[in-house]
Amino acid sequence: MLEIKDLHVCVEEDPSEKILKGVNLTINKGEIHAIMGPNGSGKSTLSKVVAGHEAYEVTQGDILFEGESILDLDPDERAHKGIFLAFQYPVEVPGVTNKNLLRQAYNTIAKEQGREELDPIEFEDYAAEKLELVDMKKEFMDRSVNAGFSGGEKKRNEIFQMAVLNPRLSFLDETDSGLDIDALKIVANGINQIADEDRAVVMVTHYQRILDYIEPDYVHVMIDGRIAKSGDKDLAVKLEDQGYDWLSDTASVSVNGEQN
């Protein structure tokens, strides 16, 4: 589904600031991946670059989605193809209700994909089902997008949006951070229900604890702009126990990271 090949990325405004230094990663449908790593290792940047954030420039390598390069596509065109990013810091849009934004987003994507658009009443019914996935009340739909939401509500709203937009590939950027244990369970439960054999989910996270609720097929460790180590969920447990230091040497000798 997604192939990241030798991806080098710098900051658009400052080309000397190289963040990704040769990332290789393959994600197949039906898989759940976790990307872990210390602060500043490039995890968040990787998710933003896949979603098309214009503050970053790809200087080398490629990103293929369903076999085609998406580097020239705008963020909205990537969304139309079925790529979704749950933001670490969701943006507040006071004055625009969740309902209006999501219906516009849903219908834009549906139109691009040749599916039927939904009128406001149909959409409300459709969204009501998705609300249950993240245990949110109907009133949530009438509130302004993220405006005045608590940290936990914002994260749940991201997963709700994911459920509504029904993407093929989702990057979840630290969706688990800032959540108490109950909210974490709700969010994890929502993600588990959305994930199926046709979709892929990539969780970017600092902590192993969300992996207690969502079992990843692969765990990758990013260090200094490269994937330093890949493994299964036992790797996450080892990281939780031992930290990242034992991997630093591996990173310095690894040229292209590892590929699944």
Binding site: H80, F84, V96, Q104
Partner: protein, 444 residues
């Protein structure tokens, strides 16, 4: 300075001719005009050296001749598209400042409401008008309000008697026609809301062409005890027009004056709302939304005068600026000595969409009482690229994303307007504005 002098002479000449032609129709108006003409002769025209005018240039006004609108040939297209459906039978229309009986109708209003043309109503003695006219909107030492009074003729008079709640919003539609010559027009509106009454007024200025003219309206409103007036002003003058307006409101005990001013048109516009508290325990709102681009200049100089204890006042003034447009805000808040327990909110937020746009903002608080809460602030910002990215990552294209964010920015100032068609009209206006600004980004 020479142009200033010349212009003043030209205008004065017009003015004297005009007065000569009107003498005798209404003794009261004759008197008002004569007195005002005298004030004009003795009041200097403002220019950049005056503190209150230092950010904008009136050269456009001073350097050109403007003929009196009444002497200009009028060809009026169909204007029914501009009628508000809610105000069917509650509409007064003025064409270049002249009352149009043909386009006006007021049969949907309760009989007890007195509504009509000032010039007609003052042909005979009219004690109410004589008592109130000029009391709220003639600003001392202000040549423009005197100028308006010196040309006083047609205009709006609305009197809502005690305890009457008028359901139908009253639409005051001022259209300015296209013309080959620059012209000058005025209008005067006087609204009296008696104790316990309620009324909604939509004051609507539309330029039908792309021509140059100078429009100088004055709007006066008096609220007696427990009166509630909702006042929306929409300014969509021609993009070459000059619009200099004064609004004066006086608010009595337990009364509530809510005003929303939307500025979209005119090359140069200046709004001066002044709200004055006449007794304790009042509420007033003076919100504004300015959407300008190209070389438009929009200036709002407001005064909120808290003269007695216990007032709740609110001013949210938002501006969206694109191209080389220039927005000026000066919001004066006075809290007089002994006016305790005042809760006053003022905020000016500016969304600057282009590099060449300009914003001058100056909240100005003068507080002489000690038990008051006054919050005020001013911000100038751009659309956050992270916000645009967020919406685009949800599948919205660049235009949809920016439009949604501008709409969200603007919405707060218009969402309290209770006339649905006005809401819709303003949403469309925001939409068109956003489209324009995106087009111009693509071509520059």
């Amino acid at each position: 300075m020479t142009t200033l002098k010349q212009t003043k002479q030209t205008f004065l000449q017009d003015l004297l001719d005009f007065q000569g032609s009107l003498n005798g129709k209404s003794q009261f108006l004759d008197k008002v005009r004569l007195k005002a003409a005298d004030e004009v002769r003795n009041t200097p025209f403002p220019h950049k050296k005056d503190e209150d005018w230092r950010f904008i240039s009136l050269r456009e006004l001073y350097s050109e001749d403007y003929e009196l609108a009444a002497t200009v040939d009028v060809s009026l297209p169909d204007i029914s598209d501009h009628y508000l459906p809610e105000s069917k039978g509650a509409r007064m229309v003025f064409v270049n400042g002249t009352f149009s009986r043909e386009h006006s109708s007021t049969e949907a209003l309760p009989e007890e409401v007195e509504i009509g043309n000032l010039a007609d109503l003052t042909a005979d003695d009219h004690p109410l008008i004589e008592e109130h006219l000029g009391k709220y909107g003639n600003f001392e030492g202000d040549v423009f309000s005197s100028f308006n009074a010196a040309f006083l003729d047609d205009g709006v008079f609305i009197h809502v008697p005690e305890n009457l709640k008028v359901e139908v919003p009253v639409h005051l539609l001022f259209v300015q026609t296209d013309a080959d010559v620059n012209y000058f027009s005025t209008s005067r509106s006087l609204v009296l809301a008696d104790a316990g009454s309620e009324v909604t007024i939509v004051e609507d200025y539309i330029g039908l062409g792309d021509n140059k003219y100078f429009n100088l309206p004055v709007f006066e409103v008096n609220l007696e005890e427990e009166a509630y007036v909702k006042h929306t002003k929409i300014q969509r003058e021609s993009k070459k027009a000059i619009h200099i307006a004064r609004t004066g409101a006086s608010v009595a005990r337990h009364a509530n004056y809510e005003s929303y001013t939307i500025t979209r048109g005119a090359k140069l516009s200046r709004n001066e709302p002044r709200i004055s508290q006449r007794d304790e325990e009042v509420e007033f709102t003076v919100d504004g939304l300015v959407l300008i681009d190209g070389e438009q200049v929009s200036d709002t100089h407001s005064v909120m005068d808290h003269r007695f204890s216990h007032a709740d006042s609110h001013q949210l003034h938002k501006c969206v600026i694109n191209g080389k447009a220039h927005s000026v805000f000066n919001g004066k808040i006075f809290v007089r000595k002994d006016a305790q327990k005042i809760d006053s909110f003022q905020e000016n937020r500016n969304l600057l969409l282009s590099r060449k746009g300009l914003v001058n903002t100056k909240p100005q608080l003068e507080i002489f009482a000690d038990d008051v809460v006054c919050t005020h602030g001013a911000t100038v910002g751009q659309l956050e690229e992270d916000e645009v990215f967020y919406l685009k990552s949800r599948g919205l294209n660049d235009q949809q994303a920016r439009e949604l964010l501008i709409y969200a920015f603007a919405l707060e100032t218009i969402e309290n307007i209770t006339v649905d068609s006005v809401q819709k009209l303003l949403v469309d206006e925001v939409h068109r504005y956003t489209e324009r600004q995106l087009d111009s980004q693509l071509t520059t």
